[in-house]
Symmetry: C2
Subunit: 222 residues, 2 copies
Amino acid sequence: MPDSSMPVYEAMRTLRAVRRLREDPIPDDVLSRILQAAVWAPSGGNIQPWRVIVVKDSVKRQQIGDLYKPQWQGFEKSYRKGLAGLEGEALKKQERILAASNLLGDNLGKAPVLLVFCFNPKLMAITDAGLDRQSVVGGGSVYPAVENLMLACVNEGVGCTLTTLLCIEEVVMKDLLDIPEDWHTCAVIPLGYPRGKGHGPITRRPVEKMCFSDSFGQPLTI
Amino acid sequence: MPDSSMPVYEAMRTLRAVRRLREDPIPDDVLSRILQAAVWAPSGGNIQPWRVIVVKDSVKRQQIGDLYKPQWQGFEKSYRKGLAGLEGEALKKQERILAASNLLGDNLGKAPVLLVFCFNPKLMAITDAGLDRQSVVGGGSVYPAVENLMLACVNEGVGCTLTTLLCIEEVVMKDLLDIPEDWHTCAVIPLGYPRGKGHGPITRRPVEKMCFSDSFGQPLTI
Protein backbone atom coordinates (compact mmCIF):
# COMPACT_ATOMS: atom_id res chain seq x y z
CA MET A 1 0.00 0.00 0.00
CA PRO A 2 1.51 3.36 -0.98
CA ASP A 3 1.65 5.65 2.02
CA SER A 4 2.31 9.34 1.68
CA SER A 5 1.00 10.26 5.11
CA MET A 6 2.99 12.72 7.23
CA PRO A 7 5.79 11.69 9.60
CA VAL A 8 4.30 10.17 12.74
CA TYR A 9 6.18 12.52 15.09
CA GLU A 10 5.04 15.55 13.12
CA ALA A 11 1.42 14.45 13.50
CA MET A 12 1.88 14.02 17.26
CA ARG A 13 3.59 17.34 17.90
CA THR A 14 0.97 19.31 15.98
CA LEU A 15 -2.20 17.55 17.19
CA ARG A 16 -4.11 20.14 19.15
CA ALA A 17 -7.72 20.86 19.98
CA VAL A 18 -9.27 22.61 16.97
CA ARG A 19 -12.59 24.02 18.13
CA ARG A 20 -13.39 26.63 15.48
CA LEU A 21 -14.74 24.53 12.63
CA ARG A 22 -16.14 25.33 9.21
CA GLU A 23 -19.51 23.91 8.22
CA ASP A 24 -18.62 22.59 4.77
CA PRO A 25 -18.59 18.80 4.43
CA ILE A 26 -15.66 16.44 4.74
CA PRO A 27 -15.19 14.34 1.58
CA ASP A 28 -15.98 10.65 1.96
CA ASP A 29 -12.45 9.48 1.10
CA VAL A 30 -10.98 11.74 3.80
CA LEU A 31 -13.48 10.55 6.39
CA SER A 32 -12.86 6.97 5.35
CA ARG A 33 -9.12 7.24 6.03
CA ILE A 34 -9.80 8.86 9.40
CA LEU A 35 -12.09 6.00 10.43
CA GLN A 36 -9.62 3.38 9.17
CA ALA A 37 -6.95 4.88 11.42
CA ALA A 38 -9.20 4.38 14.45
CA VAL A 39 -9.89 0.77 13.48
CA TRP A 40 -6.15 0.02 13.25
CA ALA A 41 -5.73 0.72 16.98
CA PRO A 42 -4.89 -2.10 19.40
CA SER A 43 -7.29 -3.22 22.14
CA GLY A 44 -7.23 -5.76 24.92
CA GLY A 45 -7.35 -9.26 23.41
CA ASN A 46 -7.88 -7.56 20.01
CA ILE A 47 -11.58 -7.51 20.86
CA GLN A 48 -12.12 -3.95 19.58
CA PRO A 49 -14.92 -3.35 22.10
CA TRP A 50 -15.93 0.00 20.64
CA ARG A 51 -18.02 1.32 17.78
CA VAL A 52 -18.36 4.79 16.36
CA ILE A 53 -21.51 6.44 15.08
CA VAL A 54 -20.77 8.89 12.28
CA VAL A 55 -23.48 11.49 12.68
CA LYS A 56 -23.99 13.61 9.55
CA ASP A 57 -27.77 13.93 9.80
CA SER A 58 -28.35 17.63 10.43
CA VAL A 59 -31.34 17.17 12.75
CA LYS A 60 -29.47 14.73 14.97
CA ARG A 61 -26.39 16.94 14.99
CA GLN A 62 -28.50 19.86 16.11
CA GLN A 63 -30.09 17.75 18.86
CA ILE A 64 -26.65 16.70 20.08
CA GLY A 65 -25.50 20.31 19.93
CA ASP A 66 -28.51 21.37 21.98
CA LEU A 67 -27.56 18.81 24.62
CA TYR A 68 -23.93 19.93 24.63
CA LYS A 69 -24.49 23.66 25.02
CA PRO A 70 -25.78 23.75 28.62
CA GLN A 71 -23.26 21.10 29.69
CA TRP A 72 -20.43 23.23 28.33
CA GLN A 73 -21.84 26.37 29.94
CA GLY A 74 -21.93 24.63 33.31
CA PHE A 75 -18.40 23.33 32.87
CA GLU A 76 -17.11 26.71 31.74
CA LYS A 77 -18.06 28.26 35.08
CA SER A 78 -15.89 25.81 37.02
CA TYR A 79 -13.10 26.04 34.43
CA ARG A 80 -13.08 29.84 34.76
CA LYS A 81 -12.71 29.58 38.53
CA GLY A 82 -9.48 27.63 37.94
CA LEU A 83 -8.01 30.67 36.16
CA ALA A 84 -8.20 32.87 39.26
CA GLY A 85 -4.43 32.96 39.87
CA LEU A 86 -3.38 33.55 36.25
CA GLU A 87 -2.28 36.80 34.67
CA GLY A 88 -0.45 38.16 31.63
CA GLU A 89 0.21 35.83 28.69
CA ALA A 90 -0.91 32.71 30.57
CA LEU A 91 -4.31 34.28 31.25
CA LYS A 92 -4.62 35.54 27.68
CA LYS A 93 -3.94 32.06 26.37
CA GLN A 94 -6.64 30.56 28.61
CA GLU A 95 -9.06 33.28 27.51
CA ARG A 96 -8.42 32.35 23.87
CA ILE A 97 -9.08 28.68 24.68
CA LEU A 98 -12.29 29.63 26.49
CA ALA A 99 -13.46 31.80 23.59
CA ALA A 100 -12.95 28.93 21.15
CA SER A 101 -14.61 26.51 23.57
CA ASN A 102 -17.59 28.81 23.98
CA LEU A 103 -17.90 29.02 20.20
CA LEU A 104 -17.86 25.23 20.05
CA GLY A 105 -20.39 25.12 22.89
CA ASP A 106 -22.77 27.24 20.81
CA ASN A 107 -22.08 25.47 17.52
CA LEU A 108 -21.20 21.83 18.14
CA GLY A 109 -24.16 20.68 16.05
CA LYS A 110 -22.96 22.71 13.07
CA ALA A 111 -19.77 20.69 12.65
CA PRO A 112 -20.33 18.64 9.48
CA VAL A 113 -19.59 15.37 11.29
CA LEU A 114 -19.99 14.34 14.92
CA LEU A 115 -18.33 11.08 15.87
CA VAL A 116 -19.93 9.36 18.85
CA PHE A 117 -17.69 6.67 20.33
CA CYS A 118 -19.45 3.82 22.11
CA PHE A 119 -18.01 0.97 24.18
CA ASN A 120 -19.26 -2.26 25.71
CA PRO A 121 -17.71 -3.05 29.10
CA LYS A 122 -18.94 -6.65 28.89
CA LEU A 123 -16.41 -7.18 26.09
CA MET A 124 -13.54 -5.84 28.22
CA ALA A 125 -11.27 -7.38 30.88
CA ILE A 126 -11.15 -4.40 33.22
CA THR A 127 -8.42 -5.27 35.70
CA ASP A 128 -9.02 -2.25 37.93
CA ALA A 129 -12.81 -2.58 38.08
CA GLY A 130 -12.73 -4.13 41.55
CA LEU A 131 -10.24 -1.73 43.12
CA ASP A 132 -11.14 0.83 45.74
CA ARG A 133 -10.35 3.76 43.45
CA GLN A 134 -11.46 5.31 40.17
CA SER A 135 -11.33 2.79 37.30
CA VAL A 136 -9.72 3.84 34.01
CA VAL A 137 -8.47 0.60 32.42
CA GLY A 138 -11.56 0.13 30.21
CA GLY A 139 -10.42 3.26 28.43
CA GLY A 140 -7.30 1.39 27.37
CA SER A 141 -9.32 -0.41 24.71
CA VAL A 142 -11.03 2.70 23.36
CA TYR A 143 -8.88 5.83 23.61
CA PRO A 144 -5.97 4.42 21.59
CA ALA A 145 -8.49 4.32 18.72
CA VAL A 146 -9.54 7.89 19.49
CA GLU A 147 -5.90 8.99 19.46
CA ASN A 148 -5.26 7.24 16.14
CA LEU A 149 -8.31 8.97 14.74
CA MET A 150 -7.18 12.39 15.88
CA LEU A 151 -3.66 11.85 14.51
CA ALA A 152 -5.27 10.92 11.20
CA CYS A 153 -7.22 14.20 11.36
CA VAL A 154 -3.91 16.06 11.56
CA ASN A 155 -2.68 14.23 8.49
CA GLU A 156 -5.91 15.03 6.63
CA GLY A 157 -5.98 18.68 7.69
CA VAL A 158 -9.27 18.14 9.54
CA GLY A 159 -9.92 19.90 12.84
CA CYS A 160 -11.11 17.87 15.84
CA THR A 161 -11.27 17.87 19.61
CA LEU A 162 -12.07 15.16 22.14
CA THR A 163 -15.11 15.96 24.27
CA THR A 164 -16.58 13.78 27.01
CA LEU A 165 -19.17 16.12 28.56
CA LEU A 166 -22.06 14.37 26.83
CA CYS A 167 -21.58 11.27 28.98
CA ILE A 168 -23.67 13.26 31.45
CA GLU A 169 -26.53 13.16 28.92
CA GLU A 170 -25.99 9.51 28.06
CA VAL A 171 -29.58 8.43 28.57
CA VAL A 172 -30.80 10.95 26.02
CA MET A 173 -27.90 10.24 23.66
CA LYS A 174 -28.63 6.50 23.71
CA ASP A 175 -32.24 7.12 22.87
CA LEU A 176 -31.38 9.57 20.09
CA LEU A 177 -28.86 7.22 18.44
CA ASP A 178 -30.52 3.84 19.14
CA ILE A 179 -27.58 2.69 21.25
CA PRO A 180 -28.28 -0.78 22.76
CA GLU A 181 -28.49 -1.36 26.49
CA ASP A 182 -25.00 -2.92 26.84
CA TRP A 183 -23.28 -0.09 25.00
CA HIS A 184 -22.37 3.31 26.42
CA THR A 185 -20.83 6.54 25.14
CA CYS A 186 -17.31 7.73 25.94
CA ALA A 187 -16.47 10.51 23.49
CA VAL A 188 -18.05 12.92 21.04
CA ILE A 189 -15.60 14.30 18.50
CA PRO A 190 -16.70 17.10 16.18
CA LEU A 191 -14.87 17.12 12.86
CA GLY A 192 -14.57 19.98 10.42
CA TYR A 193 -12.06 21.93 8.42
CA PRO A 194 -10.50 24.61 10.61
CA ARG A 195 -11.66 28.23 10.49
CA GLY A 196 -8.28 29.37 11.78
CA LYS A 197 -4.81 27.87 11.59
CA GLY A 198 -5.93 24.40 12.63
CA HIS A 199 -3.41 21.97 14.03
CA GLY A 200 -0.04 23.36 14.98
CA PRO A 201 2.39 23.91 17.86
CA ILE A 202 1.39 22.50 21.25
CA THR A 203 2.33 23.31 24.83
CA ARG A 204 3.35 20.37 27.03
CA ARG A 205 5.43 19.87 30.16
CA PRO A 206 9.02 18.82 29.54
CA VAL A 207 9.70 15.08 29.44
CA GLU A 208 11.72 15.42 32.66
CA LYS A 209 8.60 16.50 34.56
CA MET A 210 6.51 13.59 33.27
CA CYS A 211 8.99 10.72 33.46
CA PHE A 212 10.87 9.26 36.40
CA SER A 213 13.61 6.66 36.75
CA ASP A 214 12.94 3.52 38.84
CA SER A 215 10.81 5.27 41.49
CA PHE A 216 8.01 7.82 41.40
CA GLY A 217 9.52 11.30 41.70
CA GLN A 218 13.10 10.20 41.06
CA PRO A 219 14.67 12.31 38.27
CA LEU A 220 14.90 10.73 34.85
CA THR A 221 18.42 9.51 34.21
CA ILE A 222 18.20 7.71 30.91
CA MET B 1 12.84 20.37 13.73
CA PRO B 2 13.89 17.83 11.08
CA ASP B 3 11.58 14.84 11.13
CA SER B 4 12.43 11.64 9.34
CA SER B 5 9.97 9.48 11.26
CA MET B 6 7.85 6.99 9.32
CA PRO B 7 4.47 7.83 7.77
CA VAL B 8 1.83 7.99 10.49
CA TYR B 9 -0.49 5.50 8.77
CA GLU B 10 2.34 3.02 8.33
CA ALA B 11 3.07 3.18 12.07
CA MET B 12 -0.62 2.56 12.86
CA ARG B 13 -1.12 -0.36 10.53
CA THR B 14 1.99 -2.16 11.76
CA LEU B 15 1.66 -1.56 15.52
CA ARG B 16 1.08 -4.95 17.05
CA ALA B 17 1.80 -6.62 20.37
CA VAL B 18 5.45 -7.68 20.37
CA ARG B 19 5.91 -10.04 23.32
CA ARG B 20 9.15 -11.85 22.49
CA LEU B 21 11.78 -9.32 23.50
CA ARG B 22 15.56 -9.34 23.55
CA GLU B 23 17.39 -8.42 26.74
CA ASP B 24 19.92 -5.99 25.32
CA PRO B 25 19.43 -2.36 26.31
CA ILE B 26 17.60 0.37 24.45
CA PRO B 27 19.85 3.37 23.72
CA ASP B 28 19.03 6.53 25.64
CA ASP B 29 18.30 8.59 22.54
CA VAL B 30 15.78 6.00 21.32
CA LEU B 31 14.07 5.82 24.71
CA SER B 32 14.05 9.58 24.90
CA ARG B 33 12.14 9.91 21.61
CA ILE B 34 9.65 7.26 22.73
CA LEU B 35 8.95 9.15 25.96
CA GLN B 36 8.66 12.47 24.13
CA ALA B 37 5.97 10.96 21.92
CA ALA B 38 3.92 10.07 24.99
CA VAL B 39 4.30 13.57 26.41
CA TRP B 40 3.00 15.13 23.17
CA ALA B 41 -0.40 13.45 23.65
CA PRO B 42 -3.48 15.54 24.43
CA SER B 43 -5.34 15.27 27.75
CA GLY B 44 -8.43 16.82 29.27
CA GLY B 45 -7.74 20.51 29.97
CA ASN B 46 -4.11 19.82 28.94
CA ILE B 47 -3.52 18.75 32.55
CA GLN B 48 -1.43 15.69 31.62
CA PRO B 49 -2.60 13.81 34.73
CA TRP B 50 -0.20 10.90 34.21
CA ARG B 51 3.43 10.09 34.90
CA VAL B 52 5.56 7.20 33.76
CA ILE B 53 8.21 5.38 35.76
CA VAL B 54 11.00 4.11 33.53
CA VAL B 55 12.16 0.98 35.34
CA LYS B 56 15.63 -0.16 34.27
CA ASP B 57 16.84 -1.34 37.69
CA SER B 58 17.24 -5.09 37.29
CA VAL B 59 16.12 -5.98 40.81
CA LYS B 60 12.91 -3.95 40.49
CA ARG B 61 12.24 -5.39 37.04
CA GLN B 62 12.59 -8.88 38.43
CA GLN B 63 10.22 -8.07 41.29
CA ILE B 64 7.65 -6.73 38.83
CA GLY B 65 8.14 -9.81 36.66
CA ASP B 66 7.56 -12.03 39.70
CA LEU B 67 4.29 -10.23 40.36
CA TYR B 68 3.21 -10.51 36.74
CA LYS B 69 3.84 -14.23 36.25
CA PRO B 70 1.05 -15.64 38.44
CA GLN B 71 -1.38 -12.96 37.25
CA TRP B 72 -0.72 -13.96 33.65
CA GLN B 73 -1.03 -17.66 34.47
CA GLY B 74 -4.41 -17.05 36.05
CA PHE B 75 -5.56 -14.97 33.11
CA GLU B 76 -4.28 -17.51 30.59
CA LYS B 77 -6.66 -20.15 31.96
CA SER B 78 -9.71 -18.00 31.30
CA TYR B 79 -8.33 -16.85 27.94
CA ARG B 80 -7.84 -20.48 26.89
CA LYS B 81 -11.47 -21.29 27.74
CA GLY B 82 -12.50 -18.63 25.23
CA LEU B 83 -10.77 -20.60 22.45
CA ALA B 84 -13.06 -23.63 22.87
CA GLY B 85 -14.95 -23.10 19.62
CA LEU B 86 -11.92 -22.35 17.41
CA GLU B 87 -10.20 -24.68 14.97
CA GLY B 88 -7.83 -24.64 12.01
CA GLU B 89 -5.87 -21.47 11.26
CA ALA B 90 -7.82 -19.36 13.75
CA LEU B 91 -6.89 -21.74 16.57
CA LYS B 92 -3.26 -21.91 15.44
CA LYS B 93 -3.04 -18.14 15.47
CA GLN B 94 -4.42 -17.98 19.02
CA GLU B 95 -1.97 -20.70 20.09
CA ARG B 96 0.90 -18.61 18.73
CA ILE B 97 -0.36 -15.59 20.65
CA LEU B 98 -0.65 -17.66 23.81
CA ALA B 99 2.86 -19.09 23.38
CA ALA B 100 4.30 -15.57 23.06
CA SER B 101 2.19 -14.38 25.99
CA ASN B 102 3.38 -17.28 28.14
CA LEU B 103 6.96 -16.42 27.26
CA LEU B 104 6.30 -12.83 28.31
CA GLY B 105 4.60 -14.10 31.46
CA ASP B 106 7.79 -15.95 32.38
CA ASN B 107 10.17 -13.18 31.33
CA LEU B 108 8.53 -9.78 31.79
CA GLY B 109 11.26 -8.72 34.21
CA LYS B 110 13.96 -9.47 31.65
CA ALA B 111 12.78 -6.80 29.23
CA PRO B 112 15.43 -4.07 29.43
CA VAL B 113 12.84 -1.41 30.24
CA LEU B 114 9.46 -1.60 31.98
CA LEU B 115 7.31 1.49 31.71
CA VAL B 116 4.81 1.88 34.54
CA PHE B 117 2.11 4.41 33.73
CA CYS B 118 0.52 6.17 36.71
CA PHE B 119 -2.46 8.51 36.85
CA ASN B 120 -4.08 10.81 39.38
CA PRO B 121 -7.90 10.86 39.20
CA LYS B 122 -8.00 14.03 41.33
CA LEU B 123 -6.48 15.87 38.36
CA MET B 124 -9.18 14.60 35.99
CA ALA B 125 -12.72 15.72 35.15
CA ILE B 126 -14.28 12.26 34.84
CA THR B 127 -17.69 12.91 33.35
CA ASP B 128 -18.88 9.31 33.64
CA ALA B 129 -17.73 8.79 37.24
CA GLY B 130 -21.22 9.22 38.63
CA LEU B 131 -23.06 7.04 36.12
CA ASP B 132 -24.58 3.68 36.95
CA ARG B 133 -22.17 1.80 34.70
CA GLN B 134 -18.45 1.09 34.28
CA SER B 135 -16.42 4.32 34.07
CA VAL B 136 -13.78 4.66 31.33
CA VAL B 137 -13.46 8.41 30.70
CA GLY B 138 -10.44 8.85 32.99
CA GLY B 139 -8.58 6.70 30.50
CA GLY B 140 -9.15 9.42 27.92
CA SER B 141 -6.37 11.47 29.52
CA VAL B 142 -3.87 8.59 29.75
CA TYR B 143 -4.22 6.06 26.94
CA PRO B 144 -3.74 8.58 24.13
CA ALA B 145 -0.23 9.00 25.61
CA VAL B 146 0.19 5.23 25.73
CA GLU B 147 -0.87 4.97 22.08
CA ASN B 148 1.55 7.72 21.05
CA LEU B 149 4.30 5.90 22.91
CA MET B 150 3.57 2.60 21.18
CA LEU B 151 3.43 4.24 17.75
CA ALA B 152 6.83 5.75 18.52
CA CYS B 153 8.07 2.25 19.36
CA VAL B 154 7.08 1.13 15.86
CA ASN B 155 9.05 4.02 14.40
CA GLU B 156 12.07 3.15 16.55
CA GLY B 157 11.91 -0.59 15.85
CA VAL B 158 11.28 -1.31 19.52
CA GLY B 159 8.88 -4.08 20.57
CA CYS B 160 6.16 -3.31 23.11
CA THR B 161 2.79 -4.46 24.36
CA LEU B 162 0.22 -2.85 26.64
CA THR B 163 -0.47 -4.88 29.79
CA THR B 164 -2.89 -3.96 32.56
CA LEU B 165 -2.87 -7.14 34.68
CA LEU B 166 -0.62 -5.60 37.33
CA CYS B 167 -3.39 -3.25 38.43
CA ILE B 168 -4.47 -6.27 40.46
CA GLU B 169 -1.17 -6.02 42.36
CA GLU B 170 -1.34 -2.26 42.70
CA VAL B 171 -0.75 -2.16 46.44
CA VAL B 172 2.56 -4.01 46.06
CA MET B 173 3.50 -2.04 42.93
CA LYS B 174 2.93 1.27 44.72
CA ASP B 175 5.14 0.20 47.58
CA LEU B 176 7.86 -1.07 45.25
CA LEU B 177 7.97 2.13 43.18
CA ASP B 178 7.21 4.71 45.90
CA ILE B 179 3.99 5.77 44.20
CA PRO B 180 2.16 8.42 46.29
CA GLU B 181 -1.28 7.80 47.73
CA ASP B 182 -3.18 9.89 45.15
CA TRP B 183 -1.54 8.16 42.19
CA HIS B 184 -2.45 4.76 40.76
CA THR B 185 -1.15 2.46 38.04
CA CYS B 186 -2.90 1.86 34.72
CA ALA B 187 -0.40 0.15 32.41
CA VAL B 188 2.89 -1.70 32.42
CA ILE B 189 4.61 -1.71 29.04
CA PRO B 190 7.70 -3.86 28.52
CA LEU B 191 10.07 -2.50 25.89
CA GLY B 192 12.79 -4.40 24.06
CA TYR B 193 14.11 -5.09 20.61
CA PRO B 194 12.11 -7.92 19.03
CA ARG B 195 13.39 -11.50 18.98
CA GLY B 196 11.22 -12.23 15.95
CA LYS B 197 9.86 -10.05 13.20
CA GLY B 198 8.58 -7.36 15.54
CA HIS B 199 5.89 -4.98 14.38
CA GLY B 200 4.11 -5.87 11.17
CA PRO B 201 0.73 -6.72 9.66
CA ILE B 202 -2.29 -6.63 11.97
CA THR B 203 -5.72 -8.24 11.92
CA ARG B 204 -8.70 -5.95 12.51
CA ARG B 205 -12.40 -5.98 11.69
CA PRO B 206 -13.34 -4.06 8.55
CA VAL B 207 -14.27 -0.41 8.99
CA GLU B 208 -17.86 -1.25 8.00
CA LYS B 209 -18.24 -3.48 11.08
CA MET B 210 -16.92 -0.81 13.47
CA CYS B 211 -18.58 2.32 12.12
CA PHE B 212 -22.25 3.20 11.71
CA SER B 213 -24.10 6.08 10.09
CA ASP B 214 -26.41 8.25 12.23
CA SER B 215 -27.69 5.39 14.42
CA PHE B 216 -26.06 2.45 16.18
CA GLY B 217 -26.15 -0.56 13.86
CA GLN B 218 -27.09 1.40 10.75
CA PRO B 219 -24.69 0.59 7.88
CA LEU B 220 -21.99 3.12 7.14
CA THR B 221 -22.91 5.19 4.11
CA ILE B 222 -20.21 7.80 3.88
